[in-house]
């Protein structure tokens, strides 16, 4: 319990530090980012606008105000991207779209990837292993954009599927999800296979065999769980990161998700939007890592104890 509490506290602290640093860095940005019509204004008008936004206050007052509005879940308004629209509203829709695609494809990747990896480890050196290796090498070696395009061009014809995303047509969701899953399946298969093969070579598997456990049971009761532990660490982060969307797939199928939003926001010098996105992504990173650590500790008793000084 103590371990979890400490871990939680630390993450919270990191989060506050990161948020503060991001906020302060954003204050160094050129002031053009707060205007849609900077060139046409004279100095008095600019002064008045900045005054109005509170940007002329000393930094610590600005920081206080910022945290105050964060508490009220107010991230400010977009300036150039969609002028005068609340950022929470802009992000809200996009996040949900990306999240939905991300989660579905992640579930598929996990199920397919883990099954493939387990098959590969179970029949190491046999058909499944070779098949999987070909797939993994292919998925990693060929640039994703190439098969995204191939999928879009040929599969739409072949199965009479729509070319672009349509919120109301479920058929149009298939191909983007397929694209999002392909590489991830290879990724999960590769790692679970690797961890399982590592485990299979360990002495405790030999002992389990010597005490009369069937191969199937050794796999189920010992190897699979142990092999999953190192993967558990990255799982929450991967789930959370799905909200950041995929820039390729979303633009290819014209899905209104978050993919590429940060790049656009920076290009348009939309200071508040950039600030909100950096904030979001860094907190996702921190929370993801923390959940990963907690999940791993839940699986592996050694981690909890090493922090309490052990009992050896």
């Amino acid at each position: 319990m103590k371990y979890y509490a400490i871990r939680l506290l630390r993450s919270f602290l990191t989060l506050i530090i990161v948020v503060t640093i991001v906020f302060l860095l954003m204050r160094l940005m050129p002031i053009e980012g707060y205007f849609t019509n900077y060139d046409k204004l004279d100095e008095v008008q600019i002064e008045a606008k900045l005054e109005n936004l509170g940007l002329l206050n000393p930094w610590y007052i600005q920081l206080k105000d910022f945290y105050g509005s964060l508490m009220k879940r107010d991230l400010g308004q977009s300036i150039t991207y969609r002028p005068k629209v609340d950022i929470t509203k802009i992000l809200g829709d996009k996040l949900i779209t990306s999240l939905r695609f991300g989660l579905v494809s992640l579930t598929i990747s996990l199920v397919m990837g883990l099954s493939l990896g387990i098959l590969m480890a179970r029949y190491k050196g046999k058909f499944w292993d070779k098949f999987g290796t070909c797939y993994i090498v292919g998925a990693n070696a060929i640039p994703a954009v190439i098969f995204y395009l191939l999928i879009q061009v040929y599969l739409t014809d072949l199965f009479k599927l729509p070319l672009l995303y349509d919120r109301t047509d479920a058929k149009s969701w298939i191909l983007p999800i397929l694209c999002l899953s392909l590489v991830n399946i290879a990724y999960y298969a590769m790692w679970i296979r690797r961890y399982m093969v590592d485990e299979l070579n360990k002495d405790y598997v030999r002992l389990a065999k010597a005490k009369g456990l069937k191969n199937k049971d050794i796999m189920l009761k010992h190897v699979m769980r142990n092999a999953f532990v190192p993967m558990a660490q990255y799982l929450p982060a991967s789930i959370l990161y799905t909200v950041s969307g995929s820039i390729y797939v979303e633009s290819l199928f014209s899905i209104p998700g978050t993919g590429g939003l940060l790049v656009t926001a920076i290009q348009r010098q939309d200071n508040t939007l950039v600030q909100a996105l950096v904030l979001l992504y860094s907190s996702i990173g921190i929370v993801g890592l923390m959940l990963g650590d907690i999940l791993m500790a839940a699986f592996d008793p050694r981690i909890r104890l090493s922090h309490e000084g052990g009992s050896r």
Partner: protein
């Protein structure tokens, strides 16, 4: 101590491995009879085939190894003919169990110690749930783990090396086997713990009527626990006899050399004896006595024909041409003679 009921009988066992396209003969026609309730120690240097020999009793050879010929008779079945997992499952754990060398890695780090012992019980003793747990705690107590109720719920990393080896032994005993194979059970442990573990094994042997095979290269262990000793060299048992016979009246030049290299027998100030040369290459067919090239007493025939077993006593047989009536009489080296004198003196002291 030894009665005459045979539990396991191995005849002319040949085990081959495929290694990088070449064939290696790891066991070259070894034979062994195991009697109920005895402790047999198999000694020999690294690579002599001790582990492979015993692993073949449980079908635990690596995937590239196979039994080429010979038989392993256990309860009327020939284990050498077993192929499938279903056949071996009936033997592993239930009839023959094994304790491995390294207790630090022999346990699953993510399962509690108790669960791992309990798993053995549930597999082989027809007990489930609470009953199995109760027996597991009892066995943990038997192997000398204090406060077994609390320890049951702990994980392997909360145990020291010696304690973990006790758990590994508990797992083996929990299968309720007939034969327990201990593959270098004390090699990875502190000297102070070694004696405790050996004493524990002796106690368990009595309590559970186990027949124990010790595999070791530590002659100290052997002297401590073994009723009989089998000396292995290059995949063959070259001398087999009661513990006293092999220690105090060894006949094979290899056994002489092995005993001479004991530090305890060395004379202070003199270099420790070591056997010259290296073990033979098992990829090639061995002609004659495998030890001949390293044997200072080798006869001409040693290089030509493999010696048969010569019986020294009903319990003591040795594979060397030196015991042939036609062979010249060769005295064992001084160090071995010294050992014999020590024994005689010790015997006098007791009387």
């Amino acid at each position: 101590m030894i009665n005459n009921e045979i539990v396991l009988s191995v005849e002319d066992l040949v085990i081959k491995f495929n290694l990088r396209g070449q064939e290696l003969t790891a066991i070259r026609g070894a034979s062994l009879t195991l009697y109920k309730g005895e402790s047999l120690a198999i000694v020999g240097e690294s690579g002599s085939g001790k582990s492979v020999f015993t692993k073949s009793f449980m079908g635990l050879l690596d995937a590239n190894g196979r039994i080429d010929s010979g038989s392993i008779i256990y309860k009327g079945n020939d284990l050498a003919k077993y192929k499938t997992e279903d056949e071996w499952i009936k033997i592993r754990g239930k009839e023959i169990a094994m304790v491995f060398q390294d207790p630090m890695t022999s346990l699953n780090p993510l399962k509690t110690v108790g669960k791992q012992v309990q798993e053995s019980i549930e597999l082989h003793q027809n007990l489930k749930g609470e009953e199995a747990k109760k027996l597991a705690v009892e066995i943990l107590n038997d192997v000398g783990i204090s406060d077994p109720d609390r320890r049951y719920n702990q994980y392997p990393h909360e145990f020291s090396g010696g304690m973990r080896q006790r758990v590994v032994i508990a797992i083996a005993v929990a299968c309720n086997p007939n034969i327990l194979i201990c593959d270098e059970p004390t090699t990875a442990l502190d000297v102070t713990i070694q004696a405790q573990i050996l004493q524990l094994l002796k106690n368990l042997q009595r309590k559970y009527q186990l027949t124990i095979i010790y595999i070791t290269h530590d002659l100290g262990v052997v002297a401590n626990v073994a009723d009989r000793i089998a000396v292995m060299y290059a995949g063959d048992i070259i001398e087999l006899g009661l513990s006293e016979e092999v220690f105090f009246d060894p006949k094979h030049p290899y056994t002489w050399a092995l005993l001479s290299s004991l530090p305890q027998l060395g004379i202070k100030g003199e270099a420790l004896y070591s056997i010259k040369g290296t073990p033979p290459n098992l990829f090639k067919e061995i002609k004659g006595d495998a030890f001949a090239p390293r044997n200072p007493h080798a006869l001409k025939i040693d290089f030509e024909e493999r010696p048969p077993y010569f019986e020294v006593s009903p319990t003591h047989k040795v594979r060397t041409w030196l015991l042939d009536p036609r062979a010249p009489k060769v005295e064992p080296p001084l160090l071995v003679q010294k050992m014999r004198e020590m024994e005689v003196k010790r015997g006098d002291g007791i009387e």
